[in-house]
Symmetry: C3
Subunit: 198 residues, 3 copies
């Protein structure tokens, strides 16, 4: 089930990359590469940092397929994405939560301590977007909207706490991911971000 969420989360991040590429008037291959980088960059950096190589995007085709599907999706339903903005936000926030939780667990499985695993969860959830923003010459979102990375941090910490408490793995992942998504969505809804310069 969570493999499905992983792919759905990847797809959503891929679409966000492809939409960013569209704004830059990239061609089809450019959109595909932007989609792939945005959707898989976080997992790729995690693999590099853990020495767990080659990254899964080079061994399982699903991620490349998700990126390939994101291109027509962003082209054809570009307006629909705008109209159903709320659905995109919800699924994207769930993707953030799932990526943060899966990333944190991967850290624990590789013998990292809790704080390093939380860091790995944040990296997994945010680095794809950082690459997307660097390529399009913008200061990355993560540095402008605190609740984005903070939500990932809380989700990662929550899943590790529940794992340590011995709760069922699937249950913990669902609860922590949904909590992450709710925090993120509330932050979007009420435009919360603890800027140091308000």
């Amino acid at each position: 089930m969570f493999y499905i969420w992983d792919i759905i989360g990847t797809f959503i991040f891929c679409v966000s990359g492809a939409l960013a590429g569209k704004q830059l008037k990239m061609d089809y291959l450019g959109l595909f590469v932007m989609a792939l980088i945005t959707g898989t960059g976080g997992g790729m950096l995690r693999s590099i940092l853990l020495g767990d190589l080659p990254p899964v995007v080079f061994t399982k085709p699903d991620y490349v397929i998700a990126a390939a599907l994101a291109v027509p999706a962003s082209m054809m339903f570009g307006n629909a994405w705008q109209r159903h903005n709320r659905i995109v936000s919800i699924v994207g926030a769930l993707g953030l939560g799932v990526f943060a939780c899966l990333g944190a667990r991967t850290g624990i499985e590789h013998g990292l301590s809790w704080w390093a695993s939380i860091g790995l969860g944040i990296i997994s959830a945010t680095f794809g977007g950082v690459l997307r923003d660097i390529i399009r010459n913008e200061v990355p979102l993560i540095f402008r909207k605190e609740i984005y990375a903070t939500a990932a941090l809380l989700g990662a910490a929550m899943v590790l706490t529940m794992d340590a408490a011995g709760l069922p793995k699937d249950f913990s992942l669902i609860v922590a991911s949904v909590t992450t998504a709710v925090i993120r969505l509330l932050a979007i809804r009420y435009a919360i971000n603890a800027s140091t310069h308000d």
Copy 2:
């Protein structure tokens, strides 16, 4: 013979990096670093992704020497590069082809599937230029000119097909690289790129 092509390809990409640095009014060391990053960035990322470390640029001095030679070459013959634009384009396109083919073969040798190896070929051929463009704050060329990455994709696919068909390795590499170069040069000549916003 292909080692020579690898070094020539590296040198040409190094010169393109140094010329970009010149436009930014970088000093000599800056030009050298730009040359080195542009010429070896693709191979370095490939090594990182495969866990084949340290990258060859740290073990064989030829790449550093190519970058060092690219600096005076770009300084002194800056105008010549402009005048003999066609020669630079041809050698650069051949470099693109050789890098794409060598990168794809490296993937197969490391047990990757064909599609991942093609991806690795594209990364090998384009990532140095991506770094160059990120450093100088431009949207990378690969995202603006489709035929650039597409030519690399076709060359990588072609060499893998010919290898699978059991053709002589050297022959396949020459044919695929030259084909890549011809595609790329035709695209430059006729300014082909399948933009999504024409």
Copy 3:
């Protein structure tokens, strides 16, 4: 003792990252991430290139703590940093020297040749700042001020020479780091940089 210098150097680079984040009006978490990336990016890339994974920042908490302390330090003493500019320059230049020397030694310990080890020293000393500058959309300092990377190069070469001559390790590291710092400080003092376009 040099572990202490490593942490102090990290802290100083962290503060420079946090101050850059402040100029971009980042929030607290953004400042922390900028501090962490700037302070540890060089060491992280060195670990990735050597396949020495995961990077030490994921296994020892001191680096994360240094980044966390850099945030209030940059917020509260923002003006003090300006006033005691000279102290910051001196400690920062020493950090540059220590990072360059430690990075070069790490290369030798991993069996790299002298020139590759010097390269690794330069990477260790400068890459964090390169990341900081890419994130804030500036052409990296290393490409604009030659004496920055050149000082790192000289320090790295010096410590390797002294090591090869069999001098005591601590003595060599101190002398080479201080020399690096002096070169860097003289360059700042007299605004030396061998621009190609003066």
